[in-house]
Amino acid sequence: MNKLSSYSIRDIHKAYRDKTLNPRCLIDQCLDRANKTKELNAFITLTPQVAHEQSLRCQERLQSSKKLNLLEGISVCLKDNFCTENIRTTCASNMLKNFTPTYNATIYSKLMMAGACLVGKTNLDEFAMGSGTVDSIYGPSRNPWCYNDNWRIAGGSSGGSAVAVSSGSSVVAIGSDTGGSTRNPAALCGIVGLKPTYGLVSRYGLIPLVNSMDVPGVFAKNVDDAAITLNCIAGPDDLDSTTIKSAFKPISIKEDFDISNLNIGIPKEYHCKDMSIEVIECWQFVTDLLEKLCKVSCVSLPHTSVSIAVYSILNQCEVASNMSRYDGLEYGLRAKTNYSTEELYATTRSQGFNNVVRSRIFGGNYFLLRQNYEKYFLKAQKLRRLISDDFENVFNGDNKVDLLLTPTTLSDAPLYSDFTAKNNRDQCALQDYCTQPANMAGIPAISIPVKLSKNKLPLSLQLMGPALSEELLLNVAKKIEALVNFPVLEFNQYLNKN
């Protein structure tokens, strides 16, 4: 089963039914792959014992029942900012290095109920603040594509999850997406990355970054697997008051889905000045393909170019508020000082947070100062409404479109050395340009790999749709996936090298 990294959930379930494969065997292969690719630094914690116990239970269920659960015997991994009972959850920060949750995130409970097996907790930028998975106390994750000494970043902040799926250590993975943290690494690692509608998937147990924008995201090798995973994790949750209250209707992907009546919008503002020509050509390529099958229209989302600056204000404000929970008393790092409470707080927080987290706390508290509150924070929230209204207008106004097609990132995966020459804010300002507007408006978006650049690296595009349009979004994504036939990562080469 060397082809492990290209097998879909349906293939694996067929193999289970035909008894040519069993869950224990699949989990062993995933763990073996994870160990052989340690250099890529996808995982913070591997959980072989948990995975084995879960796979044995799958085997028992397989013997007693003909009907398989949605994710029966499927390996998953979780970004290390989702709480897992008795499994260390670090957010890749010194602050939570010693933190072992006593409860499970809803998403993990649901995955377990669906029969999934947890192979590990994956790497991220500290507290998910970044777009490269380069700012982790466990070191950067590395992109498996064209891997050599001069390696490329995985994208971020959920880079570990993207690497785990693209390198075959896990069939699917969960990340979080605040400004593009799922779609961005999925795009750079050549896999599918789905950011659902805000509130469709519970955030209970997801350690928050920006409460008003955070969404759990899905990584998979193909659109079908992403749809199956979404069907397992979506729906209202009493433990998260910001989940959408109406019942979730499972998504079905239809082989003969008809797109001829659709109108796909091409928002012109997504062509920004730092976009690489290869990305534009890739965008043109798929636009032309679609134009043969359905209607394609130019549309305008006028406030796109300011979205990234608005996002950065709101992000820092919510971060300043969210991070105030870390004081060293109840959990996490506690500095060795006892003179006063404030001194303990300040020393703990200076030791526990990296400079990116600290600078966002300062920025947020500056924007929230009494004299700045209206000037920056309220202004940003008003602009957020204009950005959100832009989407409202293209989806519901005159000449409305059903979905939007844009690039996901501005270029293929940058070299680690080039990327780290910029500071975190500039990195995010470039990397999140196309992705964060969807978070501002709370709408669903999916990144799908399209073709390889001349450097032999994945180029991906993004589809966005109105709130709760996941079924349409995924069906059209599947159509594009079939049209472009993106290659599977050849992994034997990497394994032989070592």
């Binding site: 043109q284 130019c298 170019s305 300011v306 600056a309 004081d327 006063s340 947070f353 204009l386 804010r425």
Partner: protein, 156 residues
Amino acid sequence: MSFRSSALVRRRIYLHRIFYNCFRYYCKVPITPVATLESDNIPKPNIDINTVALLERLSLVRFDTEQGVKVLEDSIEFANKILHINTDNVQPLYTVLENQSLSLHIDAVTQGNCQKDILKNAVITEDDYFVAPPGNIPLHEIEEKESDIQRNENRN
């Protein structure tokens, strides 16, 4: 000289490729970048020492180095690029779920008996309590006494 000319050539090839693709297919993807609404000509913000001290007290984090102040100024400069955009009569958007009401919990005990769990992750506990050092001592008083900033800089 050679760098400039190669950049020019690249630019020309770029335009050529884009125009070529465009005319051939009549593609809907715009051929040139759309101008940004961000304003340039933003004066460099300057954060004075009192503001730094205030932010340190509010944030309960230390700036540590001058680099930290520079990053803050940079981030304010970035934010200032969008302040000129007209938002008269626009209501702030706090949450994208503004059209749905928050559900109320039933007034009943649903959790409990988890004292052990709650205390489990604390580094120091005493008789089932969290432990904090003495309160009511403002941060900057301490710093003058102990010059922590210097200690921190030495550590880094």
